[in-house]
Symmetry: C3
Subunit: 431 residues, 3 copies
C-alpha cells in the first residue's frame, strides 16, 4: 500500500473517530447548560431559500460586540462569528554595502479574517491576505472542538513546528521571523490533532502540499508529518518557563526538487542572499527543532535551534541548520503574554495610557552550505524598539547588522560577503 | 441595427420597466406593514460623511443572528445583510491506468459571501472565491424584487440552464457536477428576468461574456440568450416530481474560437481527457437541455440530457451531447430538499444527532467527437457516500470508474483509452 | 543625507508627534463623556486566546444597524465597525470610426470595504476591489483622529490632488473621470496630515510608490509630496462656491521611466489613444492643479485645470496639461451634495419616491504632446443622464464624442485621428 493510500486511510479513520465522539463533551465555549442544538438556530437553516424569501430571523438571543471588527454570539454560546482584520505598513532603508536592496515602503499584511463556531462542536477560520495585490489564502480550516482538550483540525493551517513560526506575526517581538525559520514547513493542507494540557501540549498532523501546489504539474504531491511537544512547568501571567521540541518528515513531490531561500530579516527587499538553488533528486526531508522561552516579569528570553536533513537519490545527505536567541525588556513594566494552551506568545496589553515600550535584541544565524550545495551562511544582529500604543496598535523600529559569507550570493546572482545595515519601521493595527 | 444595439435597447427598456413599477407591491420579505421607507434608515445615509464624522447610528430596531456567520435585519424587514462563507477541502487518490493524474489535496472552494436587501425593493449578492490563490468573482449582482413573483436581476450570475448547474455546489449529491455539464453556459454578465409560481418557473436572460473576458483583445464580446422553464406538479417536503427544459443561443465573440474541455468528475487533477481543442471559425452556439427529478421519501432520481450545436463559417455544424442519471437514498430517513421557487435542490437537514447518511450512484457520459472534431467520449460511474453531520457540515466519499475512448486524449497530449479509478474525499462547512 | 533618510526621519517624527498628543482631545465621534477606555472592551481583548477559548463577550452596550451592510457601534462611541461594499455594472457600445474598440459588458467595480474605530482615537479602512478577477487593494490605512480638526493618516490612500480624483467613483457625475485626471498621482503608500476647517481645508502628505511597486526590481522606490488647499466661502446645503489648488512633486524611482496613457472616458475598451510611451531618463515630476465648483440649487458647475512638468536627465523638460468643465442640473430638484470637511462631493439623495434625475454635460481635453514626446491630444464631449432611484442605487447613461489628433495613436499601435462615439450604461449599488 502506498503512502498516499495510507494517507487516505488516516483521513477516513479520523472522520470516523470524529463521528464516534459523543457530542455531550462540554465544549469549552458553552456558556450554559443548553442541551438543545436545534433551538432557534434551526429556524435559521431555513435560509437556504431563494434570497427573495430569505430574511434574518428575529432572534433576540444574540449579543454583539466590537473591538473595531464585528462580533456576534448566540446566547447559548453555541454559535458565534467574528470578522476582523489587520494592517501592517512597512518602510525600510538599506544602508547598502555591495548590492542594491531597494529602499521603499510596502503593505506587509492586509488581511481580512472570518472565524466562528457552529452547533457548539465546530469552529472554523477563513483568512485572506491582500498585501501583495492578489488574494493569498492563509488559515482556512475547520475543527471538531467538542472533546476538550482534544481538537481535530482539517484544512490549510500551520504545521506544528517552532514557537516563532506558530506565534502570529501580530505578536512577534521583531518585524520578521529569525533566519532559521526559513527551514520550517509553514502552512500546508492537512489533518491535525492537538492536545493542550496545563503544562504539556502536543500537536501532530499529516500534511499534503500547499493548497494550490498542484497547478503546474501532474505528478503526485508530496506529503509529510509534523509534531510538536511543549512543556511549560511555569506559565503564570508574568512568569514563564517553556521548552519545546518539533520534528517533521516530508516526502517531496514527484519533481524531487528542493530549495531554501530567504531574505535578510527584512521583507521589503527582494534580495535573498541565502539560496540553495534547486537541489535536484531530493527525496525526503527530515527536520528537528528545539525551543525555549523564559519570561521573568518585564524580561524575556527566547531561543530556538533547528536543522533539516535532505536525503537525495544518490544517498549524499545535505544538512542545513540555524539558531537564534533573543531577549526583550519592557521598561514600562509589561510582560510578554504566554498562552499556555496553544503554547505560543500573544498580545501585549499596555499598562498605562502612554502605552508600553519594549526593547529587544536578537542574534540569528543560518547555514545553507553543505556538501555540493553552496547556499551560504548569514549572521544577523537586530536591535528593536516596540511601542504598543494600544493593545491593537503598535509601532516597531528594527535596526540590523547583516554579515554574509562568501557563498551568500543569492545562488550566484549577487556579490558575496555583503554586509548591509537595515533600518525598518512598521505601523500595525488589528481589529 | 446590430445585435449589440439591440442589447443596449433591451438594457434600457428593462431599466424603464424597473422604474415604472409601483413600489407598493408587498415584497415577500416585508415583515410588517411599515409604509415609511425613510424611517431610521434615512439617518444612516448621512454616513457618506468623512469617516471622522461617521458613526453607526444607535438603532435599536435591528435584530442580529448567527449561524456561524453574521446576520442583521432591520425591524421593518426592509434592510438586511448576511455575511457568510464556505470551505470545501478535498483529497484525491487516482488509481492510474495509462496517464499520471497527480494525487494530492486541495482547497476546492473558500468563499466569502455578502448579500442583503436595501429599501425593501433591492437585493444584492457579492461572492468571491479564494480557493486557487487569487480572487475569483462568483455571484455579483443586484435585483429588483418588489413585484413578486417577478424579479429583474442584473450582474454576474448563472445563466438559467440545467438543474445540476443551478444547484449550489454546497448541495450537490456528488463532489463534482456530471460530465455533460461541461456544455452549460455557467456564469456570465447579464440581465435576467425570473418568474416563480407554485408549480411553474420561468427564467430568461440576455448575457454578454464573462465579466473579464475583454481583457486580451479589442474585438466585440459575444452575447447570448438563455431560458429555462420548469414544471413541478408535485413539490411537497418529501415528494417531488420535477420536469424542466432549457435552451440557449450564443453569438461567439470576434475571435470565433470555441473550445470545450473537462476533467473527469474530479477537480484535483488538471488532466482534461475530453478536449475539442480550439474550434476555429465558430459563429454561433445553440444548446438545449432536458431535466427531471423525482423524490419519493428517502429515495430520489435525477437525470439530465443536454446537447449543443456549433455553427461554423463553412456551415459544417458540429454537435456534442451527453446525459447522466443518478439515484440517491437516505438510510437515515431524510429527503433531498427541493426548493420549488428557484426550482433546484437545497440543504439537507439531518433528522438525528448522529447526522444523515446518503448513498448515491451516478452514470454520466459525454461525447465531444463529431465531424472533424475529435474531442473524445467518456463514461463515468460514481458511487457516493455522504455524511451530513450537521446541516452546515458534511463529508463526502466518491469512488469512480472512468472509461475513455480513443479520442479522449486531451487533444493529443495524453494516451487515449485511459481507464483510471478515482477515490475522492471532501470535508465541507458553510457558515 | 539622502531624501529617503529624510523620509524615514519624517516618518519617525510623525510617530513621536502622534505619541505626544494627549488623548483627551474629544474626538468628534464620542457620543458621550465616557472617560474610561478600558471598560467592557478590555474584556474583549482577552480574545487573543486560542479559538477554542474564545467567545464573543456578552456586551449589551453595542448598537447595530444596516443600510444593506453591517454596522455595529459601542455605546460609548469609542469603537465601531462597518462592513459594506459596492457593485458597478457597465455596458458599452462603441460607434467606431477607424479603430476597433470592443463592445461588451464588464464589472467596473466590485468592492468589499471594512472600516471602523478603535479606542476612540484610531480609525481605519481596508477596501479591496475584485472587479478584474484578482484582488486590487484600494484604501488600506489607519489614522490618528483624536486632535480634531487635525488627522494623521498612514497607509495606502489617495494623494491629496484634484477634486475629481478625491470624489468617490460612487458619487461622480459621469461614469469616468475626465481625461486630464490621467495626470494625477492617485493612491500611493504614504503619511498624510489633514486639517479641515469651516471654509478652509489643507491636506499634505509624503508618499512612496504604490504598495507593490517594488516587486520587479531592486532599485529604490520613488517618492513624492502632495498638497491640496481648498477654500469654500459658501458651503450650505444647496449653495456652494469652492476653490482649490493642488501641487505635487515626485522623484521617480531608479528606473527613471515615466509614462502616461489613458483610455477615452470609457473603461470597457482597452484602447488608450493617448500614450506617451516610456519616457526614459526621467528624473522628477512636478504637478499643479486648479479646481473650482459652484452649486446653485439644482444647478452645478465644476472645472479643473492641471499640468505636469517632467524633468529629464538632459534638462529638456516635457510639459503635459489638460482641463475640463462640466455642468449638471437636477430637473427633480435635488442638489449636488458638497461635503465641506473633506472638500469633495458626496451622495445625492432623491427627494421623491420616483428618484432623482440629473442631466449633465462635460467638455474635457488633454494634450500629451510636447518636445519629442508625441503622446497625442484628445477632446471629448459627454452628455450624461443619471437616475438616482434610491440614495444607494443609480443608473447612468453617457454619450460621448471623441476627437483625437494625429498623435493620438496609442504610441503607434492604432490609426490616428480616430473619432468614435461612445454609448455607455452603468447600474450601481452600494451597501
Amino acid at each position: 500500500m502506498s503512502k498516499l493510500n495510507l494517507f487516505l486511510l488516516l483521513f477516513l479513520l479520523s472522520f470516523s473517530l470524529l463521528a464516534a465522539q459523543p457530542v455531550d463533551g462540554n465544549p469549552p465555549n458553552r456558556q450554559n447548560g443548553h442541551e438543545s442544538q436545534t433551538g432557534n438556530h434551526s429556524l435559521l437553516l431555513a435560509q437556504s431559500e431563494p434570497l427573495s424569501n430569505r430574511s434574518v430571523e428575529r432572534d433576540h438571543d444574540t449579543f454583539t460586540s466590537t473591538r473595531g471588527g464585528v462580533e456576534i454570539v448566540s446566547s447559548d454560546g453555541e454559535f458565534f462569528a467574528i470578522i476582523g482584520g489587520r494592517l501592517l505598513l512597512d518602510a525600510a532603508y538599506y544602508d547598502e554595502d555591495k548590492n542594491s536592496l531597494g529602499n521603499g515602503t510596502e503593505i506587509r499584511s492586509a488581511r481580512l479574517d472570518m472565524e466562528g463556531r457552529l452547533f457548539a462542536d465546530i469552529i472554523y477560520e477563513l483568512s485572506v491576505d491582500f498585501a501583495d495585490g492578489d488574494a493569498d489564502m492563509k488559515d482556512a480550516w475547520f475543527a471538531y472542538d467538542a472533546q476538550h482538550p482534544w481538537r481535530f483540525i482539517l484544512g490549510h493551517f500551520k504545521e506544528p513546528f517552532s514557537l516563532e513560526e506558530l506565534t502570529s506575526r501580530k505578536h512577534l517581538t521583531f518585524m520578521e521571523r529569525a533566519l532559521p525559520n526559513a527551514l520550517v514547513p509553514g502552512r500546508n493542507m492537512g489533518l491535525g490533532l492537538q492536545w493542550y494540557g496545563e503544562q504539556l501540549s502536543l500537536a501532530a498532523g499529516i500534511f499534503g502540499d500547499d493548497f494550490n501546489d498542484d497547478s503546474d504539474d501532474e505528478g503526485d504531491e508530496g506529503w509529510g508529518v509534523s509534531t510538536r511537544a511543549t512543556y511549560a512547568p511555569i506559565a503564570t501571567e508574568r512568569s514563564v518557563v517553556h521548552f519545546g521540541v518539533s520534528a517533521a518528515h516530508r516526502k517531496l513531490d514527484d519533481e524531487e526538487a528542493y530549495r531554501v531561500d530567504i531574505r535578510p530579516e527584512s521583507h521589503l527587499t527582494d534580495v535573498r542572499y541565502l539560496d540553495t538553488g534547486k537541489i535536484k533528486q531530493s527525496r525526503t526531508l527530515t527536520m528537528v527543532g528545539l525551543e525555549t522561552a523564559w519570561v521573568y516579569g518585564e524580561t524575556s528570553i527566547q531561543a530556538e535551534w533547528m536543522a533539516s536533513n535532505l536525503e537525495r537519490d544518490d544517498d549524499t545527505d545535505v544538512e542545513f541548520s540555524g539558531w537564534y536567541v533573543q531577549a526583550s525588556w519592557f521598561p514600562t513594566g509589561e510582560s510578554r503574554h504566554y498562552k499556555h494552551q496553544p503554547a505560543r506568545f500573544g498580545r501585549v496589553k499596555p499598562l498605562s495610557e502612554q502605552g508600553a515600550v519594549e526593547l529587544a535584541l536578537r542574534y540569528s544565524t543560518l547555514d545553507l552550505t553543505d556538501q555540493d550545495v553552496e547556499g551560504g551562511n548569514s549572521d544577523q544582529i537586530t536591535v528593536g524598539v516596540n511601542w504598543y500604543y494600544k493593545p491593537q496598535l503598535r509601532f516597531m523600529l528594527n535596526y540590523s547588522l547583516v554579515k554574509n559569507d562568501e557563498f551568500a550570493d543569492a545562488d550566484g546572482d549577487l556579490e558575496n560577503e555583503d554586509e548591509p545595515k537595515i533600518v525598518q519601521l512598521r505601523a500595525q493595527v488589528d481589529f
